[in-house]
């Protein structure tokens, strides 16, 4: 009964376009140490509409990343169904771009060659792929760094290279797993701004995992709050100021939302650490 109610709340309005991602009653366990398996997800249902920016928050290690990996087709849920663009995901999902805390650049390749890699895999001719890589590097503010090695760049710049590589093959859907977690606070705001710009310029749908409630509030249209492990969806809230003109803009409604989210989250964290 309660699950049906949750589902209804999450299904988009009748006049909205069909969801690009639809996860139904997904569950996943991993073989743990010894005989005990670790249950990461339990009965999670959610859907994401095209063009939506959704953030997933919850206690550390609760299984949010597992949801992204399922959407990326890197792992399969034990139970439940995952539909992407109306079709079940059976292998690595090439329609998504995935950006993690690790920038996953190949250290022996130049910045340009790193960004062009996805096109090289696709068999795009050399001249065209380098042209497209140059173009996208310019759009993320890295013109002039094409010939650098990744080791010569700062953390923020490497993140941009990683973003450029994700965008170069035109994915419609972006999975972000704490992409700016390793950056300092100022660089993080700069990157958040840049991300918003890129997302609106490319018309991307985004699913973001973050520990930073302010980041979730500043960037998202909708925030999904998960319980401690095994992750269950416990609350879905729309951000009142979605589509603000700048990530640093803040209203009273944001403060209220922050407090409300934090209270729920703190409850989960306390429950998780209690003896």
């Amino acid at each position: 009964m309660s699950r049906i109610a949750t589902l209804e709340k999450l299904v988009p309005q009748p006049d909205a376009p069909p969801p690009i991602l639809r996860i139904e009653s997904a569950g996943k366990s991993f073989p743990g140490s010894g005989r005990q398996a670790t249950e990461a997800l339990r009965d999670v249902s959610l859907s994401v509409a095209p063009g939506e920016f959704v953030s997933l928050i919850g206690p550390s290690g609760c299984g949010k990343t597992t949801l992204l990996n399922i959407t990326a087709g890197l792992i399969r849920p034990d139970v439940g169904q995952v539909l992407f663009d109306g079709a079940p995901i059976t292998g690595p999902n090439r329609k998504v771009g995935y950006l993690t805390q690790d920038d996953a650049l190949l250290p022996w390749r130049s910045v340009l060659a790193n960004v062009a890699l996805p096109l090289e895999i696709k068999g795009v001719a050399r001249a065209e792929r380098l042209e497209r890589a140059r173009d996208i590097l310019q759009r993320v503010g890295l013109a002039g760094f094409e010939k650098h090695q990744p080791s010569q760049l700062s953390g923020g710049m490497r993140k941009r290279v990683s973003l450029a590589r994700t965008l170069v093959y035109n994915p419609a859907f972006l999975l972000l797993d704490e992409p700016f977690g390793a950056l300092d606070a100022q660089t993080r705001v700069v990157m958040q701004r840049e991300l918003r710009q890129v997302v609106s310029a490319f018309g991307l749908t985004v699913m973001l995992v973050t520990h930073d409630l302010n980041e979730a509030i500043a960037l998202s249209d909708r925030i999904l709050l998960f319980s401690r492990r095994p992750a269950r969806l416990i609350e879905a809230v729309s951000v009142p100021q979605a589509g603000r003109s700048d990530v640093t803009d803040r209203t009273r409604a944001d403060d209220a939302l922050y407090r409300r989210l934090w209270d729920r989250l703190a409850g989960e964290i306390d429950a998780g650490t209690a003896p």
């Binding site: 990326a72 890197l74 690595p92 999902n93 090439r94 998504v96 771009g97 995935y98 993690t100 690790d102 996953a104 190949l106 250290p107 022996w108 890699l117 996805p118 090289e120 895999i121 696709k122 990744p150 080791s151 093959y169």
Partner: protein, 258 residues
């Protein structure tokens, strides 16, 4: 004081090392015939004489060439087989569970014990020596390739999968370049053992090579000849190992140094 001038420190270390070697050779030269029987230990000047006579007649070059040739063949064969099996084991977990314990078991076997068997199978000759060397070199490259690939950061492999890379594309664009550092250190470790193996096989039974030169001269009670062969082996081993170390140092293809 010295620590402030690294080149001076390096120069001093080298000078002391050379002085130590020179002192050792001088004592040897002086003691031979006075305190020690020269038919057993010869003396540096006689060894030098012997080596230069062999060099003029081309005997040393030919023997060194024969030894080096088998080392090269054995390294190539062992590296090829080791890399293929190592990469396969790192890729397929079930294969690894099957093969790795067997490889580790065989690694402990002293390969020199196989010499009689290989002589039985192939007769005395290049095939026997090369096969033996391959069985030694294989293990170094097996572990280098397998552990190199297994220590590859998972996000890199996930990234390649997500951008749609096939297995052969991942091999060419990720696994092999990422393994170069490991393979070079495998090369550096395998090389001295390849020399040990080839010379052991030569000493047991062979027609040519530095090991044969040492053995035959020992049989003829020519200590100078034995030492000349040993000195040549030492120089050859040091030179090839130095080359391998230089290659490793030059390599920027390692994931560790990013």
């Amino acid at each position: 004081m010295i620590a402030r001038y690294p080149w001076l420190e390096r120069f001093l270390v080298l000078a002391v090392q050379l002085a130590l070697i020179g002192t050792f050779l001088a004592i040897w030269e002086y003691a031979a015939g006075r305190f020690v029987d020269p038919t057993m230990v010869s003396r540096p000047s006689k060894i030098w004489d012997q080596a230069s006579r062999w060099l003029v007649r081309g005997i040393l070059e030919k023997a060194a060439g024969e030894t080096l040739w088998i080392v090269l063949l054995g390294m190539l064969g062992g590296a090829g087989a080791g890399v293929v099996v190592g990469l396969a084991c790192a890729t397929w977990r079930w294969l690894d569970r099957l093969v790795e314990p067997l490889v580790t078991m065989l690694f402990a076997l002293p390969k020199v014990a196989l010499i009689p068997l290989f002589i039985l199978w192939f007769g005395v000759g290049d095939t026997e020596k090369t096969t033996l060397t391959v069985t030694v070199v294989f293990f170094f490259f097996f572990y280098a390739a397998r552990n190199g690939l297994r220590s590859l950061p998972q996000p890199l492999d996930d990234m390649m999968l997500l951008i749609g890379a096939s297995w052969s594309q991942r091999l060419r664009l990720l696994y092999l370049p990422a393994s170069v550092g490991w393979l070079l250190s495998g090369l550096r470790m395998a090389l001295p053992y390849a020399f040990v193996t080839v010379v052991s096989a030569e000493v047991v039974s062979a027609r040519g090579g530095l090991g044969v030169l040492a053995k035959n001269n020992a049989a003829a009670m020519n200590a100078a000849g034995v030492f000349a062969a040993i000195a040549s082996l030492t120089l050859l081993g040091a030179a090839t190992s130095g080359l391998a170390a230089w290659l490793v140092g030059r390599s920027r293809w390692t994931l560790a140094n990013r």
